[in-house]
Symmetry: C2
Subunit: 226 residues, 2 copies
């Protein structure tokens, strides 16, 4: 009644179906325009505009104007985490809007969580990095060991430029489908980019699914090998 931050205002922002659809779409990581989000949410442009104003006011999304378009992104990694956590609860309590189809297993297998890899393959990757002590979880924050630095360099990823961003290099993100953590942060994003660049995987159009080619999956398993 009297102490603590006000959950209700934030939760109410996420609690409208149209807004939730928009946010789920933004979990795909690409910046989307107001009209794309309107389509995703299944509402008209006017309605979407009103919703987006509220989300922006509540600092859930960021807007960037470019030409006559306005591109929206999620404002903060914490938002991404809360959304994934909410998905976990929704899932467990049987509130899913899945039309059970081929998408469902594929989503669990490998999907984009904003800009990094989630799903079973994301968890496998994270676990293998932890098991080899390439990634260390410490009180002052998760980070790379010396061996981890070498591993990332060997993959051909430019660590220096990653370190220059204000974004934390490594970050845990709880996975709603696997109920385990996967790797987020600048490195998480860079690894997924690497998979794309090497042609191991690509995004399925219009969804969060990440499709690995047979050869790509083999290479992926190789680098996860302990």
């Amino acid at each position: 009644m009297k102490e603590g931050p006000d959950i209700a205002r934030v939760a109410a922002l996420l609690g409208d179906p149209a807004r939730a659809n928009m946010l789920t779409a933004l979990m795909g990581g690409r910046a989307l325009t107001a009209s794309e989000l309107a389509t995703e949410a299944g509402v008209t442009a006017q309605t979407a505009s009103s919703h987006l104003a509220k989300l922006q006011d509540g600092q859930i999304v960021l807007a960037r104007k470019q030409g006559r378009h306005r591109y929206f992104t999620l404002s903060d990694p914490d938002i991404v985490e809360v959304l994934e956590a909410l998905m976990g609860i929704a899932q467990r309590t049987g509130h899913n809007r899945l039309r059970t189809g081929p998408k469902d297993p594929a989503l669990r297998r490998a999907r984009v969580c904003y800009d990094h890899l989630a799903g079973e393959m994301g968890v496998v990757l994270f676990d293998s990095l932890l098991a080899r002590k390439y990634v260390i979880v410490a009180p002052e924050g998760t980070g790379l060991s010396n061996a981890g630095v070498a591993f990332v360099r060997d993959l051909g990823i430019d660590l220096e430029s990653l370190r220059q961003s204000r974004r934390p290099l490594c970050r845990e993100c709880l996975d709603w489908s696997a109920r385990r953590s996967h790797l987020a942060g600048a490195l998480g994003a860079a690894l997924l980019d690497h998979f794309y660049a090497q042609g191991w995987a690509r995004r399925e159009k219009g969804s969060r699914v990440v499709l690995f080619s047979p050869a790509g999956e083999k290479r992926f398993n190789d680098i996860c090998q302990i």
Copy 2:
């Protein structure tokens, strides 16, 4: 639009002020009756009953009938985590319902997060356990090292009975005030109980604040000493 669990239903449940007040009260960890929750939320018993039915239906809370009372608790550690995470966002975006008073600093210092210690002191405790490698964060779950087992035994805590519960022994929980993790799980709860039992600390009545006595804080610092 078509894939992934339905965030909106869950978030909407948390997004009503009355329900959010109830849930915040339940973060105190004690089971509360329907009428207590009505008072916390500032609504009549009828209204509270309707809200509680929804929360129960959505599997956010559990009800246990005892005599003519119905006691409610949060249903799941994941719910606790989501609530704390939402508090973090609400806080950062300046949506707090704090009447800035002495409570605020005290809440940041030490408070109950369901049934374990949170706030600065909770974070200090967790960090010190990690630094001494008493608690190990591993892919297959957070756990106690042999040294950690000895440490806990020395405190006079019965580990065997803790292990017998289905609840995980160690668990990380993100702290909204410190933006760092503190220790949850059966051990987290047992440690806080220990602090109470030793007379080092007590609950402030009607709030989540944990008050350490000067002597108790000294003892607490001793056991956190590396």
